[in-house]
Symmetry: D2
Subunit: 287 residues, 4 copies
Amino acid sequence: MPRNQIPPFELKLTQREAHPERTVVRLATGAAFGGDVLAICAGPCSVESAEQIEATAAAVARAGANVLRGGAFKPRTSPYAFQGLGLHGLELMRVAATRHGLAVVTEVLDPRDVEAVSAYADMLQIGARNMQNFALLREAGLSRKPVLLKRGLAATVDEWLMAAEYLLLAGNTQVVLCERGVRSFDSNTRNLLDLSVVPLLATMTHLPVIVDPSHGTGIARLVEPMSLAGVAAGADGLLVEVHPDPASAVSDGRQSLTFEQFASLVGKLAEVAAAVGRRLPAPGLVV
Amino acid sequence: MPRNQIPPFELKLTQREAHPERTVVRLATGAAFGGDVLAICAGPCSVESAEQIEATAAAVARAGANVLRGGAFKPRTSPYAFQGLGLHGLELMRVAATRHGLAVVTEVLDPRDVEAVSAYADMLQIGARNMQNFALLREAGLSRKPVLLKRGLAATVDEWLMAAEYLLLAGNTQVVLCERGVRSFDSNTRNLLDLSVVPLLATMTHLPVIVDPSHGTGIARLVEPMSLAGVAAGADGLLVEVHPDPASAVSDGRQSLTFEQFASLVGKLAEVAAAVGRRLPAPGLVV
Amino acid sequence: MPRNQIPPFELKLTQREAHPERTVVRLATGAAFGGDVLAICAGPCSVESAEQIEATAAAVARAGANVLRGGAFKPRTSPYAFQGLGLHGLELMRVAATRHGLAVVTEVLDPRDVEAVSAYADMLQIGARNMQNFALLREAGLSRKPVLLKRGLAATVDEWLMAAEYLLLAGNTQVVLCERGVRSFDSNTRNLLDLSVVPLLATMTHLPVIVDPSHGTGIARLVEPMSLAGVAAGADGLLVEVHPDPASAVSDGRQSLTFEQFASLVGKLAEVAAAVGRRLPAPGLVV
Amino acid sequence: MPRNQIPPFELKLTQREAHPERTVVRLATGAAFGGDVLAICAGPCSVESAEQIEATAAAVARAGANVLRGGAFKPRTSPYAFQGLGLHGLELMRVAATRHGLAVVTEVLDPRDVEAVSAYADMLQIGARNMQNFALLREAGLSRKPVLLKRGLAATVDEWLMAAEYLLLAGNTQVVLCERGVRSFDSNTRNLLDLSVVPLLATMTHLPVIVDPSHGTGIARLVEPMSLAGVAAGADGLLVEVHPDPASAVSDGRQSLTFEQFASLVGKLAEVAAAVGRRLPAPGLVV
């Protein structure tokens, strides 16, 4: 009986040969993914209030982040869970980010929202659950906003790159991949963070790749060591959940860092980055 | 260290207690999911031409199917793969189905297409890749067309029921679950068909459940035994890929049955169904 | 980048072509695996006492089983868990089985115990944790007792057949495969019972295959439907845990059937077996 | 329906509280696991000849390794694959290691071989396939040789620690854990190297943990970045496959480093180690 394995998909626009130099994705604020300087994206799982997002933006900028992450449209497993503040959340995040010299990355869930979210964001995030939402990929591909494409919950690297191929084929070449852990049989961690994709992708594609150790582990204590490991493996940046008071967060509190923990992480990161020839972003605007 | 396992989600509308009798989902043609009579859905992966869908509808109706399946909007891993005939494919499928007394189930990928697809289909399919496409779930929930909700590629049963909960909460109570295999480490089969969810779901929810042995295995020779097994486990129906000439199919030919193989399957199914107290649908219109 | 997939192993002695007729494995008592008559193996997870094994042997023989299963040497995840009664347990099981006309299948964990266990058992079981314990496979291969080889916790079908190949190469051709579920990401069931291997193995090997729905699901209520499904899929028999009082069992009580549940299962099984051209064993000695 | 998840096992001897200071495992040569200095274990998958092991020992000692790894008893999926040189291989490895000031770690497969292997090795390796071979664990637990316990192919962290518990309960407290990748659905890599267990284990146990990026990825190009990542995550050492000519290796050539690649790896490792407060071993005897 022959193997039933799906044959390797033929990459075109995302393959290394299509773009001999590695792609560097630059946001309007100057933050970049793929160069010598790492992209440090930090912020809460959900935007909860003006105070929360302002305090977080201030703290992460001070610690050395250059991109503010935060969810306004939330993909929640349960319809009874907090679904996000929507456009109002985006306004709050935009104000806080601009005030502190940060770019904004935020998730878009619905192809009909791409335009509205683009008005506030510097980068559109396509989440793990939507990695193969092809209607959303096509719309984001037409938008020309840089896109952060998270790996699906159980997506192979080939499927992930093919999802990126939809974006590039639609005309959007500003695509960053984000490893956020895959499903596994061990419930000690929320997901299994697959750092081997970082060097593997470097052999397959010219696109940058960052790591999300917060969703990748689900446990705040593991975020710092896995951030250091991700950068040592060659990642172009990090996406980290930070909250003023993780214990009271409306979502994902268990995996969120406090301001102090995040500042400590960035401090240690500088040394590991230097060991592999990378640098942290210059400090943001501290207001 | 405490477990990081996500706590069990609290089901409301989908749980058994919410609806003491098991839900029976009836389509406009009279086909039903959840009663004593099984629902037998069969047809090609993709609608390819008027001739192909007419021949297939005729053959599956003659063999004993009561629902015609077929894809017009196709969720393809690669943007370079055949993407389906779109609305024209739906027209072809509707004509063929009506001619042979079959209901139509077909996938919708984009929330903006729910209304247009509803004009042709008796039942909307939400595919595995979109199980947690919450924008699509909400739109399908508002449509009042019965919905076939496939299990995600690596979805837990809890997550699957929570996706159904989105549909019910939006007002659509006509929901059928479809097991189609999950990701595994063994590439001998395309997916790992998880038949244990059939009796497990019966303890958790009042919604009907059917089995897709075609995607569930990816191998035509395994479709018949796994169909028999699915019904023996208590499934309320089957979703089977059938094609006039599997070797020339534009998609999924390797897992498609010929007309003869499908007729043989239905013949054997009758006996297993009887052994567990179920019946096959009455023959369709044979033109 | 080329695939890193291990190339398919070349089967020799276990492949279908090596033995054009399907192998039928016959035990000393006359029970057989692989013919028209199913093998029904039932009994407790652990032999606990003379009373427990005698009562169980009587009940399962009366209900229609022809093989008594039971553990005397137990492979326990924790060293603090009950490790089995050892040789004394084997003596108790042998007496009870003989009294009721049943064959004995029991696990052997240590290559140094193969001879001693063979003195009591009609069939040696190699458990999932030892599927690639090559020292044990070699010793069991030399013993000439029929062997029941369980699939490893996350073994591919190729690896499983290669483990069987060790047995055949050592000279033992009386090998039965047993599917008992594999690791998955969904903790609703203990393992994910992979029934698709039943028809898949039939295309790859001449060896018989049975199904263990007790370990395969871990939930007593799922054992009956998955037993029916296994036989509908073409399995040559079942391995079912039965206990006089599951709630007080020293191990695996949650997945064990009561005597009444087991008798009910066998009753329904007769009809499904007939639907796929198989029969149940003739009643054992009822003392 | 209640969760079927196995309850967390109660750790006793391996839990952190049992041994407030982290265990440091010291070999007879002075190499240690768990202190400030990393343990660097390197060598071929299989000992093939006196020339091969001598050349490799010389090269890895020169590059900075302090432990020689190599297989003499090989656990091979296929009985037709090279099974190792056995005791003669151990003699060759012992001579080469001693000549270059290296310790020897090598796998033992059979409880009857523990004594013989202990005569040549400084550390006994229990491989992934034998993690729950309880007869072997008991024998190794009685031997008093330090033990390197690899994680099973799909073992949870709890099961892994329980296997270690068998060793400690038998009296052997010199146990090192080794992460070597787990089964996954993506065949781009041989296994999925789970680095999150490194900091996770630090919260659960006092035992040291090292990382095997060779089996963990199966691809030579990924070994260096994943080695750096492992140390950044807090690993106490590495286990790396090195071969004079990987293309001609009798086993695992695809994942083996050349001497030059290994020397390059150790050079970069020094910087990452310094960034996380660790050091490389002092150079071995260069003859």
